[in-house]
Symmetry: C2
Subunit: 485 residues, 2 copies
């Protein structure tokens, strides 16, 4: 029988939820525009089994994907686990078989060599598939309509890396999915591969390369002409894994690099720029003007991940973990090997940056972030940053409410940049309910135009995306058909 | 889009839940015996659509059945709506079509003449079917394993009444389901029918009869030789329905009757006994010793249902709604027309009486009830009443916890009376979680031996039953089979 530990990772708002189910026609306070047609997908780590090792970090849970289907002013809700190999193996065994986060040395011998992925980091749509993504394993393909899992997906044999990023990006000009893997030749290796894949699933580009040291290559930047990989010393080693330490630790003594791959080039064309130690994880957007490259990321002075502690033993430094949207500039024509500048774009303290992705790879103005200030208001505000002025419009949620990553939805295909909606999950930390909030993207400070009530707890979530109804209509189907007995 | 009203029936702990879903291997605190093999089914009213009339009473919701499947010390959870005709019609329309509780005059014209049942009162197993029951409509047959609905069930044409009780009883000697309908010739009629149906689904007895006045004939008593119908003036009239008053009201000016039908006889053999006005709804058990008949029911001086108000306008009288298990005695040999006695069996204030149903129709010793005392502890205690001494063992739940009807599970087929377990839903009124509590039935005062955590809110529930694993294995299946696309 399942007995979850009475530890912080599994109690209170972190208590697993584990229910796969459906609610049609969610209760709505306010109004949802009748012409909003599509689905918001978002994933939460939601441990199916008590941890093999007695305890775990809160985000090592199995990926549970929620689908909010908007149509005709109604919203239907569905959530399902991604059927990763891990999920299926553990379900069969009736217990956990995989141990600590990214440490196969802690696994049950019966699963040696199996993909360890939880698909708990992103729910991303491309080429008719919804992908459940975890960067330590291949992509898991799913039916975007039913949330049924097809299984691990190698793009018809075109992608052989054992890993696949949780942060692909769509090139808005071509519709291609630009993506990568790290630890591409095995755990802790410095090998990476960059790919571009058409909406029809054809791989049109593949570049293998190395980075200076093994690091958590969680996200990347994409411009019209370059793919940008920021190497930040969230790093690891076999010694850490053997010692049973958390896979990653942050090393304040190591430099940061921006590895720039020309999209038309090869590994030999890579240039690398170096900056002093700092912390950065997600990328708002990037763009280039000739050889001049701009890369926007929430940057902090020090580690933002308390669960991946300082590698030299320093205690977590709260104030230094505050991150501000920062523009890194490098010039491919420069041979200095250094950044040209790092400019703070806004005083708003936030992470989980998102923008109007029709402006991926291009100069852009509008960005939205989850507020990450210290204290009780942390993760409870939504900021809209105007990158042209640095001004931020901010909405603060109420007491006992926590917000998650925002996601932008354009008002229409050809609406001006930033005209549309923001959706954002709101967890109630007191009464076990949740909401999907819908904002006018240009007026988030006025509060949500609709609160779509979810009658159950949602756990903290990671990333999510909007998929238009016309894409859902064409999505690949895993058909199951009722047959009379 | 669904907009539920901001009224007491739809907010706080009454907020609808509406999620159909599954959680396998629930988190358990304590231990569940490994040999406990079967399922506890229980139904809650859970409104699928905002009420047609703008507001409603909390228990007019659609029946949502929860299944807790116990096996090998594990418990799996599943809940599904009963697909009543009402549910299907409203789902198709995307909104409520049926109006007030038991008032067809308030319905949308499109559903005139359709069964109005919500199947929200009991989840009862017999003859391989799980039945979702609401006394104003026929029984709805379901697959006990999958909770899929077959549909309204007329027992192969043997039962033609438009209504069917939510409280059938199993005769433990034969396994026959003894059951009845009221308002059998239409709404507000005084007509009733009594049936006995074998486990193979064959009707072996049918007696049509009349009662002195239309009343809510919610439960009944069954002894080896008699079927006992207590007529209590929770009554109605077309005038009430036309005026838009609650269907039922309680009339303190009218007498109570016990209508006794010899199971071997016919309508002409019925005898009726009369008592002064009182309130009684559920029946713990009944038995007879020759012509002497004992009928045990929680009896209150006055109305227990504030939502069915006093028919003459008196305000609800809290203290007088306190109910005690009371033994009514009548003698079929007596021609007085009166009760021989009404003896209070215990000082424990409770309702939702349940016993070891292997002792249905027989003299018995052990009963369990939900505590119904006034004040904050109401509906938050479990009492085990020893009918031979009147002593009660009581367990009081913690703050912000509410309990529901207990259900007894025998330890084994031939365990002595009352040896086994009690299961009982516990609602958390603060954090949106729930538990199924498991008690040693003989030691409820020692508190639960296991708390089986349900990671979502459960709404207030009505009745439920335990079905042994061997019965589930033989249950009728509604097969749906996956077919590759």
């Amino acid at each position: 029988m399942a007995k979850f530990p009475n530890s912080p990772s599994f109690t209170g708002v972190f208590e697993p939820i584990r229910i796969e189910g459906d609610v049609t026609d969610l209760d709505i306070e306010g109004e949802v525009p009748a012409d909003l047609d599509g689905a918001f997908f978002r994933v939460q780590p939601d441990p199916k089994h008590p941890p093999l090792l007695g305890d775990d970090i809160a985000f090592n849970g199995d990926g549970m994907i929620a689908q909010f289907r908007f149509k005709d002013g109604r919203v239907d809700f569905k959530q399902r686990y991604v059927r990763t190999d891990k999920f299926n193996l553990e379900e069969k065994a009736g217990r956990a078989l995989f141990g600590a986060y990214r440490n196969p040395l802690t696994d049950d011998p019966s699963v040696k060599g199996r993909y360890r992925g939880t698909a708990n980091t992103n729910a991303f749509f491309h080429g008719g598939y919804l992908f459940g993504l975890k960067e330590d394993s291949p992509a898991v393909a799913m039916d975007a309509n039913s949330l049924e899992t097809f299984g691990y997906h190698d793009f018809d044999g075109q992608i052989t890396s054992p890993t696949f990023t949780a942060h692909p990006k769509i090139d808005p000009e071509t519709g291609d999915m630009c993506c990568f893997s790290y630890a591409s030749k095995g755990l802790l290796t410095r090998d990476m591969v960059y790919w571009e894949i058409t909406p029809e699933g054809k791989k049109t580009r593949e570049v293998a390369f190395e980075i200076p040291y093994y690091a958590m290559m969680h996200d990347f930047g994409l411009t019209r002409d370059y793919a940008l990989f920021h190497v930040v010393p969230i790093t690891s080693s076999w010694e850490r894994l053997q010692a049973g330490l958390p896979h990653f630790g942050f090393d304040t003594t190591m430099p940061v690099h921006l590895v720039v791959l020309p999209r038309g080039g090869d590994a030999k064309d890579i240039k690398m720029f170096t900056a002093p130690n700092l912390f950065a994880s997600h990328v708002m957007n990037a763009f280039n003007d000739g050889t001049k490259i701009y890369f926007d990321t929430p940057e902090a002075k020090n580690n933002m991940f308390p669960f991946f502690p300082d590698i030299h033993g320093a205690p977590f430094n709260g104030p230094e973990s505050a991150s501000h949207l920062t523009r890194w500039t490098v010039d491919m024509d420069s041979n200095s090997g250094e950044f040209e500048s790092r400019e703070r774009l806004s005083e708003f303290v936030g992470e989980f940056p998102r923008m109007d992705e029709r402006y991926n790879t291009e100069a852009y103005r509008h960005g939205w972030m989850l507020g990450m200030g210290m204290g009780p208001g942390s993760r409870a505000s939504l900021g809209h940053v105007d990158t042209s002025t640095g001004q931020a419009k901010v909405w603060q949620a109420g007491a006992n409410r926590a917000l998650q990553e925002p996601c932008f939805i354009p008002k229409s295909k050809d609406a001006p940049e930033g005209e549309g909606y923001i959706v954002q999950i709101q967890q109630h930390q007191d009464d076990g309910k949740s909401d999907l909030l819908l904002f006018d993207a240009q007026h988030v400070d006025e509060g949500p135009m609709a609160a779509i009530h979810v009658p159950l707890r949602m756990r903290f979530g990671l990333h999510g995306n909007w998929v238009p109804g016309e894409e859902l209509a064409k999505a690949r189907r895993k058909t199951t058909q009722a047959v009379a007995a």
